[in-house]
Symmetry: D2
Subunit: 350 residues, 4 copies
């Protein structure tokens, strides 16, 4: 039985972890902490969990955690888990970190994008938690560093074409669109409803932090240095990411060949669906059709006019982009079927 601690329970990722663990048949939440809601019931912070989860939020206490848990989830902002994880080592705990702290293997890159790292020696212990790419390493990991939501949406559709050396590594444009829950739980003018509703807002058209992990993973797959033109936009929905990837094949490719490549790469993956129909409203992925689920849907279209392959990926940023992927990683580390507790078809329409 998994006994889980959630550090940083008060955010949306923390709430989503709690919801998913609550319905997980092999797990139980035995500890939850937050800097800001000490002593409160989880249900008084997360209204959807009211009367369902009778647990009080505590402050972070490594002894209590190792007494009552075997898995520890970090749903904290970057910079926090690097100070806490060292206190939890050598206690037989498995760590699933949803923050950015242990994702980047290159310390300089981390420092460039996020600032100081106080615990670089643990970075090499951590496995980048994208199960479709690193499954075997995750199973044996002590620390799993779950990918950023935008990174998952970017790496997953690109991985097959980069592995198969189909596309030009010099010309990869990722144009991502995301809902408001990606901004976290803290109010600000940028998320104030009168200003956030009806936007099509370019909020980070260059220098987005997730660029670093996308390039790290794609370079590994390419066995070459990959740079990505990444831009992020805020649109008016609460959940969901769509990444549109403009890629340029090095040689002529056919739809049939692309189907073959994607089927080969992802045919056995329970949470990847290739969505490509000749016509109709849902002929390509749209996060709307998978809200609440752990799927990443991937589609593609060849644009002969300019010699382009457009890739499209969709996921729920709080599930496959965060808490769902973390549970998937937990399942792998715990030796469970990776779909345990994650079979949910997507709420539609919503």
């Amino acid at each position: 039985m998994i006994e889980a601690a959630i550090i940083g329970i008060s955010g949306y990722t923390g709430g989503e972890l709690a919801r998913l663990l609550l319905i997980h048949p092999e797990a139980e939440i035995t500890y939850a902490s937050s800097r800001t809601h000490n002593g409160k019931l989880i249900g008084s912070v997360h209204p959807h969990l009211r009367k369902l989860l009778n647990l009080r939020i505590q402050s972070f206490n490594p002894e209590k955690i190792s007494d009552s848990c075997n898995f520890v989830f970090f749903a904290t902002p970057h910079g926090v888990s690097q100070t806490m994880i060292p206190q939890l080592m050598d206690r037989g705990l498995k760590i699933i970190d949803l923050s950015a702290d242990f994702r980047l293997k290159n310390l300089n890159t981390y420092v460039h994008y996020y600032g100081r790292h106080t615990c670089p020696e643990l970075v090499k212990k951590a496995v980048y938690g994208l199960p479709e790419i690193h499954k075997e390493e995750i199973k044996k990991a002590e620390i799993v560093a779950c990918p950023g939501c935008m990174a998952s949406a970017s790496i997953l559709p690109l991985a097959p074409l980069i592995s198969e050396k189909v596309i030009d590594l010099e010309k990869i444009v990722v144009d991502a669109k995301i809902g408001s829950s990606g901004s976290g739980v803290k109010p600000s003018r940028s998320t104030h409803h009168p200003e956030r509703a009806n936007v099509i807002r370019p909020y980070k058209v260059a220098k987005h932090r997730h660029t670093a992990e996308i390039e790290q993973e794609l370079s590994l797959l390419a066995e070459a240095d990959v740079k990505v033109s990444f831009s992020a936009h805020a649109v008016d929905t609460v959940r969901g990411i769509l990444a549109t990837i403009h890629s340029f094949p090095l040689r002529e490719v056919t739809e049939k060949e692309l189907w073959r490549i994607y089927r080969k790469f992802y045919g056995q993956e329970p949470f990847i669906r290739i969505i490509k129909r000749r016509e109709g409203l849902y002929s390509l992925p749209d996060p709307k059709t998978l809200i609440g689920s752990n799927f990443c849907d991937i589609g593609f279209e060849i644009d002969e006019h300019v010699g382009r392959v457009v890739l499209v990926s969709a996921l729920d940023n709080l599930v496959k982009g965060a808490a769902g992927q973390a549970i998937q990683n937990m399942n792998l580390v715990a030796g469970l079927d990776e779909t345990t507790g994650l079979f949910f078809p997507g709420l539609f329409p919503v």
Copy 2:
């Protein structure tokens, strides 16, 4: 094992039934029909079910249904099940009808609100499927007539105060607000996004059909004739109903007494939550906090200024307002725990 047929699979209620049956541990969908999508895979009609449900839509065929099913769900528009159910009788099938056809005991009332009824003799066999009110009868029913979504949201908060004779039966105002999925799957100008987005539209401020069943059930509880001032509004969300009920107590009541009455009436009910906190954003029910779940949240507030008790109820119109309640009824008829397959905490935020 429950083997279920869904008649009218192509609408939103049909899709939601399919989703809920898919994750139900004791049920399986063995048959699905629709007038409009004969031969298609369910996943080609409902994009969230793609690759999850490998079943083709057929035309309605009573023999095939009785060969492969023991439960039959009707997710059809009103007027349809009354012509089909007679063909299914005496085959040992249990019927769960989500349409209006068998809800109203008084034929004249049905005719007034809906038009002709071709099968009045089966009406008395049907049990009104609001489990919190008619649980024991439902367990033994052959036909369960599931309530309208607005009716559930109106009857549930009023039932305790009417049973306890707290409020004036002459002055009950129900002001309901609903999301767009309540309009069904068929496009029209009223649901065209440019015209439906950002509305606060009074779409039926008098003569709403659900008035009839609300009055039927409240009159039974009151043992007196109850009339209700019902008005419905469309607001900009996909799922959710909020009913605000302005009621006027016959005598002075205190919060404590109201708490006592609601706890007594609903204390054992797994899908009713009394939501009333002194302060905070979620001090009263809001459908936003229970989307995807089978809860009906109920709250109240005393307005001494005018001698009013304001009741507020919230539910997901496609779950507790339709498919979830139908599954709850199925569980009761099948002798299962009524929460089987329905434990889902609500997706939040969404």
Copy 3:
């Protein structure tokens, strides 16, 4: 020529005043102040006014105001104008106050709902700025106290029926729904997009402050004490209020008679439209059809089933509910046609 000061420019009402004055043919903004954005260009606070209004925000300075202005608008939170207006008296300035400070004639009521009033002696000088009710007094006013947005939406539809003694004064239920801009410019969890999107939230079902002014004005019209059952809800749109008013006639009324009453009362009013069609999507008012305009649309429907007259009113809370009405009042005080600068048909669809 009107030379206007806007005190409290940084809020949404301030921004809307600036927009309307900018396009007003007889007015100019010559002064703007705010506690929080001293020294900034107005366009750096209000993105829609960028490059259109080359004026810097100052701190409040009565001398400068009386040197450069003849009209002063207060778009401040309650409690502010009562401390500033005394410093502006006897300078020949006309005051248009959009806050609550001078709306209530009864000091005790003000204190009950809002707290201390430091300047009660000026209250009697102020005229309640609902032009359709107090036009002649407004023309001669030195201080106009503009109504609350919810109050305008409630008083305007009720005034004719109360004046004509058609409805029961003991049974008036106002169920109001409002968009997020009504919450003002300051972010909080209640307006945080992930939590504010898709709500149908009962945010003040009793004890709403606007009740006081609604009752004051209706009592004047009724020549009797009127109490109102008022409840407010937040829905997912940025602009707009719909008030649904459940009223109960003292005698039988016909549609024809109601038409006659409304035409008589409002036939000459340029910003009141009676919207009542036999059928169709827009047969009753919906704020969606008048966004950006100064209209208040009013409709009605008789519900014979319970002996009810349902009134429905719609307006844009930032225009007819605030800044537009303030400009209408300014026009009246300045001796201009009251529609000057306010002819805008509503942006649709939006």
Copy 4:
């Protein structure tokens, strides 16, 4: 005085033309036709124009038009104006066509993207109605072919960099996002609110028709053949387009140089604003800040990491993307100041 006919009044573009002509000081609507609403008042089709425009819709009649009008606007689907305009020639009428029929100079391209053209001989008479590019020709035009909404949003930000030969013509990626009003007035499943709300939907990631006119205009400016990688997405708002353009400079460029280029190209243009601030929520264009206005806001950001210049443009698809630009063209043809009747700052927040 301009006396205008609107052909195709019943769509959103027709309604927007009517609204703008209604508030235009030098124009009057004297004729309106539609295939579908013959005999109705305009206000019964467009709810925001109720009681403001007392004109009935007629069927298309060239004689009546030439008797009562001097300007004719076509707000018809493609394929219609090419059959009607020949009947209006030689009557001294000025034609402003908002459809695609006369935009493309190359007949083969038209046929490829739209199908048959019955009136190719008039194509060379038509001027492409993007005033910032073709102002002098428009002033003398008999037929103005107004650009597609996506085309305006793409050409305007690219024109300066292409004219100045800054960017690589082989690598231009335009990733556009648009609201639902762009789909027109006719309901379908793709615009049905339950399915259209909360989408981030790739609806045309290759082969979008507007590609043709974008390439035509950019090739003219480049004096070379330009091909564009264009992809369009539907997002959840009613109005607004954001185009994100990923371009790659041929040599190193600085922000200062880009500022200089844009100021030189657009410094005198009343409807182009360069929006680029170092920080803050509105540091780049967002259609949210200009809804209802005729502005096209343009911003840029240099991404040194990959050697990219990201351009961002925003406009209201029904105003600068359609009806507003048409009025701007009408003003130019009529010899008026091009801003006449178009000074509206954008409704915010909405």
